[in-house]
Symmetry: C2
Subunit: 183 residues, 2 copies
């Protein structure tokens, strides 16, 4: 999703500063489907302000730069709904680098294969831990159902990697018979 819509999405839940929006992308429920650094968030908020989709109030702080608390406007909410109705959700290609790398397992060192698989398993585990922690929106709520999707998909992916870890490693370049190395 584009950065402006992602910001509107966070602000639809509660007012926030640019800094807090970024935290939401990293830690909150949005971390599973949105991202963006300061370099894109701040310009996005400027544009949204110019378009009247958000407003902000400055909260003075003594020992830090003043904090701008952004709030979504009615026009902003309407725009968010519009975007979510118009946009064709064409992504989700699992066009993952991991699969690209594993496709060439036979040409790569076993250590590399082991590392990418183990790192990914750890990544899935961390995601699953995070998903089980950040419940609390209520059974059957949209956030809860979306969370369930994440759990289902990450679990399936993790199990597959665990089950086939050894198969991939066996394929790796340095496991091929000596005939090959002596070539």
């Amino acid at each position: 999703m584009d950065i402006k819509t992602s910001c509107l999405g966070v602000l639809a839940l509660r007012p926030a500063s640019g800094y807090e929006i970024r935290k939401a992308f990293e830690e909150g429920p949005f971390s599973h489907f949105a991202e963006g650094g300061f370099g894109s968030i701040y310009p996005a908020l400027s544009k949204l302000t110019g378009e009247g989709l958000v407003t902000f109030e400055v909260e003075a702080q003594e020992k830090r730069p003043d904090k701008k608390i952004y709030q979504i406007t009615d026009a902003g909410r309407a725009t968010l709904v519009e975007k979510l109705c118009e946009k064709a959700p064409d992504d989700d290609k699992y066009k993952s680098d991991l699969l690209f790398i594993l496709f060439f397992a036979g040409q790569l060192p076993a250590d590399r294969i082991r590392n990418v698989i183990d790192d990914r398993i750890a990544f899935y585990q961390a995601k699953l831990d995070h998903l089980s922690e950040c419940g609390g929106a209520g059974e059957g709520s949209a956030p809860d159902l979306v969370r369930g999707f994440g759990v289902t998909v990450y679990s399936a992916a993790m199990s597959y990697l665990q089950d086939h870890r050894q198969d991939f490693i066996k394929l790796a370049d340095d496991n091929r018979p000596a005939a090959d190395a002596a070539d």
Copy 2:
């Protein structure tokens, strides 16, 4: 994966023209983890040629533009392996637009929710059909194992959507009690 590496990947399997590389991104086994249009493929091939990672031979054709058949060089193969060893495969965030949309199911019309879910189920089904067709690389081969990953993940995602389709639809904006509409 960046476009240059993706092209090298296709060429590592067989020589091909720019046009054929694009077909590989759309239809072949690469369609599950690589993509790119002509606007990125042709410039990438020029750069790769300049770097000595690929060479090409011109195959004259009478009634069409001459075809350039690109072939990977030894340096190209080495570079591919290097890239696949260096690059941190950090993607796979399931940062999908679908989940973003479903997260806001309560604010959107039921028709929209129904459509995105049904479209996505059809998409998964098409992917699964395609994956089962394009077997043939041999049991336990890298392409086969990668294919298995795709089947596992797509199946899990599809089942989840099928099982929770009604739950999402029930949450939708126009299913809320009249009290809300009369507000």
